[in-house]
Symmetry: C2
DNA sequence: GTCCAAGGTCTGAACCTCAGACCATGGACT
DNA sequence: AGTCCATGGTCTGAGGTTCAGACCTTGGAC
């Protein structure tokens, strides 16, 4: 009988959804979102509401809108949003570890459940995600997409809707273009981790799967920590400039 | 780029909040909620919005509203809501285990973190909750309140806002008046479990704390399963009648 | 120069949310 | 019996949100 209750406008919900889609790499810099009329229908909202959400993302520097024949809503290079995200992680004490620890709680248990509940189809899907991660030779957003897909599939294999939704949401709060990863070969490292998680799930070893997932996310924590708190930006000085 | 986005009206959010408050036993049958004007201010919403939410709860059988000198919003005996909840758990396949498994994921990890991050104040709070659980001799909603409080405190001790919020929300989805617990002495059993969890946290043993919490929730799963799926209702036939 | 898909703008209706005024009820107190 | 008054019940006007749908404008492709 003490807390304050709030709600969210549709516009805010849509903006958040699109932000998550971008953070998770389902669409990346240069990509064009579906036309407004079409996207509005896909999301099940009125065009007006979607447009409001797009204006929000525009102000935040996530997208750029163009009229005319090649018109559409294009994802930017994300320099400004990344700078702001990094600033927020650096400033708000504990925010960064809060998110990572939350992910560990959710995803280790998802891996544990997945090792018990997986079927042939799940395993095939996981193999697919690992394979497509291996195929990504260019340092583009395809890496984040593959990475994201693997984690989503583990979540789905756990057969728990709440867990799946929470994992999706927590992953959407993180946001790091692969280009900034400081390691020599984070893709290969990630691929090895995923392979190991896959094997423990395939072999039906819940505790091993949980451990593997925990170690994987801890490694991610280290990589992200370097990006967020490290002095070097890893990709030049653009980070500090945040052109609008 | 495929899912559907929705939002929630303030009224729905407030109704959900109040439902959670009742489910967790913070207020129980016979209790009176604060006056509308006061509660609206506490929650930070207009009286009109709160009133709408109250109407929803009234229709669902959670509360009964009275005018006049002893007027106010009173929590009912919850017979109808309990019957509906039980029906939902029985009908929607997996819903029940979905919630419990989700709680396990969240709370075992909360216990694990708590064992590392606890300080003197946390430990005192946990001892308090256990003690007040022991003092509850009557079979009233005070049991659920004490129980709820212990779990909340473990969550707080984990020092993770997202984890805490998720645990709160998951616990709010469960809902069982203590009167229906089929065991001879569920309070004593719960007290022992809590005591053990407390000791592992106090001793700084993360893995032991996680195990203890997992076992505790698994025991809860069994008790609730009996109530939800058992043929006997444990407290007479009222369950099946759900007077509106 | 025409075409036309895509963004930009506008309208009217329905609903949500708010602050605040005012009405109706019914035990408690005198 | 009569008054008091906290509490729920009702109403209003303003402002914001959301919707469907019509219509305008832009600018490469052809």
């Amino acid at each position: 009988m003490d807390r304050v209750v709030t709600s969210q406008t549709l516009t805010q919900a849509v903006a958040e959804h699109l932000r998550t889609v971008i953070h998770q790499g389902e669409v990346g810099p240069g990509d064009r979102l579906p036309a407004e009329r079409e996207l509005a229908e896909q999301l099940g909202v009125a065009r007006a509401s979607l447009r409001e959400a797009i204006k929000v993302l525009q102000r935040e520097g996530y997208v750029r809108v163009q009229r005319g024949a090649l018109g559409g809503t294009y994802v930017t290079e994300l320099i400004e949003p990344l700078a702001k995200w990094r600033m927020r992680m650096r400033t708000q004490a504990g925010e960064f570890d809060d998110i990572i620890d939350f992910r560990i709680a959710l995803e280790t248990d998802a891996a544990r459940l997945a090792a018990v509940r997986r079927d042939r189809t799940d395993l095939a899907g996981l193999r697919d995600s690992i394979a497509s991660l291996g195929r990504v030779s260019n340092g583009h957003s395809a890496f984040r997409l593959s990475d994201s897909q693997f984690h989503s599939r583990v979540a789905k294999t756990a057969r728990n809707l709440r867990l799946e939704a929470a994992i999706e949401s927590a992953r959407g709060e993180l946001f790091v273009p692969h280009d900034l990863l400081p390691y020599a070969d984070p893709i290969e490292e990630s691929r090895r981790d995923h392979q190991q998680i896959y094997e423990t799930i395939r072999d039906g070893k819940p505790e091993a799967a949980a451990s593997a997932m925990r170690e994987h996310i801890e490694r991610t924590r280290q990589q992200l920590r370097d990006i967020v708190f490290g002095s070097g930006s890893g990709s030049g000085s653009e980070l500090e400039q945040a052109s609008g």
